[in-house]
């Protein structure tokens, strides 16, 4: 009988125990790479510009304890969060309004097609001339760049509200303001979050890019100076910090998404008989 069940178990695929489904399986490859990297470093097999993880870790810890990293990170995050907040808020608000009011979309749509593909970093010198070399110019670049993906996502979300959801609202006698607030925005929220997620990643990329060009403080500044002085361990420590901050921010956004979209994220098949 045991033989029979074993044979049955063999023929039945069990996705639960499948290797790829196991918790933590996703970490396996990065860990293996890290281990190989470290071993290569220990045996002196790495070129100078690649530093072993243990040394990066040590430098990173030293910079953290001395307060150097926190200062630079705070300076970077200040610009990054302001750029993201302003850019994504404008993109979302204009996107939703364009989705609801056709004249607004007629104004913005060609503009988006025209300006979105232009790399905003390319016009950085122009922006430095207009807004100076300080924080403002960097925030402006981020704001402009982040506006587009968040606009497109919000516009698409507001455009694709189900017709019967709108009908139901109008049927109850809802005003246009209530329709936008209580039907269009909640309905577009999954799309809006996708836009914010792209905007978030973009904000970190631009945070470093703008600081690499001109800066006196920030994680990008640390990277630029470390490269000049061939202190690759410091360069990697700064990159590691950016990765950690980016990871945490993205997870935080996903948590917020899970909290706000609790009803919408539920599987449609999980219903009762």
């Amino acid at each position: 009988m045991t033989g029979q069940t074993a044979a049955l178990a063999e023929t039945m695929p069990e996705p639960k125990t499948a290797f790829a489904e196991r918790r933590g399986a996703g970490w396996l490859i990065p860990l293996a790479v890290l281990l190989a990297w470290e071993l290569c470093g220990q045996f002196g097999m790495l070129p100078r510009y690649i530093v072993a993880p243990s040394r990066i870790g040590a430098t990173w810890w030293g910079m953290l304890v001395s307060g150097e990293l926190t200062g630079h990170a705070a300076s970077s995050l200040f610009r990054q969060s302001l750029g993201l907040l302003i850019g994504a808020s404008c993109g979302t608000i204009v996107g939703v309004l364009a989705g609801v009011f056709a004249p607004i979309s007629r104004f913005y749509e060609p503009l988006v097609s025209l300006i979105y593909p232009v790399p905003k970093v390319a016009i950085l010198p122009l922006i430095f001339v207009w807004f100076g070399l300080g924080d403002l110019s960097k925030i402006v670049v981020m704001t402009i760049s982040i506006f587009f993906p968040t606009y497109i996502a919000a516009y698409h979300g507001a455009k694709s509200v189900q017709k019967i959801h709108i009908w139901t609202a109008l049927n109850a006698g809802a005003t246009r303001a209530r329709l936008i607030r209580q039907v269009v925005i909640p309905s577009a929220l999954p799309d809006i979050f996708n836009g914010w997620r792209i905007g978030l990643a973009l904000s970190f990329v631009l945070m470093v890019t703008t600081e690499l060009v001109v800066s006196t403080k920030g994680l990008g500044y640390v990277i630029a100076r470390a490269e000049e002085n061939l202190r690759f361990d410091r360069m990697y420590a700064a990159i590691l910090t950016i990765a950690i901050l980016g990871f945490c921010a993205d997870r935080l956004l996903l948590k917020l998404r899970g909290y706000l979209l609790v009803g919408q994220l539920m599987s449609k098949d999980s219903g009762h008989g």
């Binding site: 989705g99 609801v100 056709a102 507001a158 455009k159 509200v161 189900q162 017709k163 019967i164 959801h165 709108i166 009908w167 139901t168 609202a169 109008l170 049927n171 109850a172 006698g173 809802a174 246009r176 209530r178 329709l179 209580q182 039907v183 909640p186 309905s187 929220l189 979209l261 609790v262 009803g263 919408q264 539920m266 599987s267 449609k268 999980s270 219903g271 009762h272 008989g273």
Partner: protein, 283 residues
């Protein structure tokens, strides 16, 4: 996005109501609806007339594409009117409004709101005080038997339960006439029958005027006081059959001789139209 929700009322062409003992709740006069599909002009409704008295449960059956759903959407104020008038309680129908409540086949529940939140919604829109809002919503959830699911989200519910929530939400709006557009069309046979029983029970407690569009003959006879058979496009009334079955109606009524007679009669009428529609669309 909301363009389709606008109705362009035409000036009434002297549609004087004839003097009757009792003015009907709903009066539809020579209603016309045309639309262009793939460059071809299609007449969905051509001079359609209908009167519905207060407290009547009227079912509309007809071959698919006959314009019965279009008519309901026009009455709801969601489709433009190309001619004729609709008067509800002496007032011209123009645009959507809370006096005509819609129930859709696709439930149209807001997935971001809980069951209770969905039922509360029309009460919030109508600015009902919070305490009264909650009492009404709880009473309606009890009526449809979903009090235990008040904090669930629609996506957690089965189709039948979703439609019961939608029904509770519709009753919360408390409209003068309930417009139901094939509300049980997406349900499986067992759930459909349960919902029919439930609707019959609920309707007996309130006796609200209902216009119920369906393609299911059994459903129409079981639920309605009057069954209106539509012709194939352009939609007109082919027959208006009064269903004299006692209420409350149990499912067993479907086995009675009287019921079967109604069923055969309506089926014959409908069959003619389905065949006609098919021969016209054949190349």
């Amino acid at each position: 996005m909301t363009e389709s929700a606008q109705v362009q009322p035409k000036t009434s062409a002297g549609a004087e109501a004839p003097q009757t003992a009792r003015e009907p709740l709903l009066r539809v006069d020579s209603l016309v609806k045309t639309f262009v599909r793939k460059g071809v002009r299609v007449t969905a409704l051509d001079g359609f007339n209908l009167t519905v008295d207060e407290g009547e449960f009227v079912a509309i059956v007809g071959p698919s594409g006959c314009g019965k759903s279009t008519f309901l959407h026009m009455l709801g104020g969601f489709e433009s009117v190309d001619g004729g008038t609709m008067t509800l309680n002496g007032r011209r129908v123009a645009g959507p409004g809370p006096d005509r409540g819609m129930l859709f086949q696709e439930y149209a529940l807001y997935p971001w709101r809980t069951v209770l939140g969905n039922v509360l919604w029309p009460l919030e829109v109508q600015n009902i005080p919070p305490a009264q809002r909650n009492t009404t919503a709880e009473r309606l959830l009890t009526l449809v038997g979903l009090t235990h699911f008040r904090n669930h989200y629609p996506n957690e519910l089965s189709g039948g339960m979703k439609q019961r929530v939608a029904l509770a939400r519709l009753l919360a709006l408390n409209p003068q006439i309930l417009l139901m557009d094939e509300p049980f069309g997406a349900l499986d046979a067992q759930n459909r029958e349960l919902l029919q029983e439930e609707l019959e029970r609920i309707w007996n407690t309130s006796r609200k005027t209902v216009l119920f569009v369906t393609h299911d003959i059994d459903e129409s006879i079981y639920l309605a006081d009057r069954v209106i058979v539509f012709t194939a496009r352009p939609g007109r009334i082919k027959a208006d059959i009064r269903i004299d079955l006692p209420r409350p109606r149990a499912m067993e009524i479907k086995k009675s001789a009287q019921y079967i007679e109604y069923r055969n009669r309506i089926w014959d009428l409908l069959r003619e139209e389905v065949l006609r529609a098919r021969s016209e669309h054949a190349p």
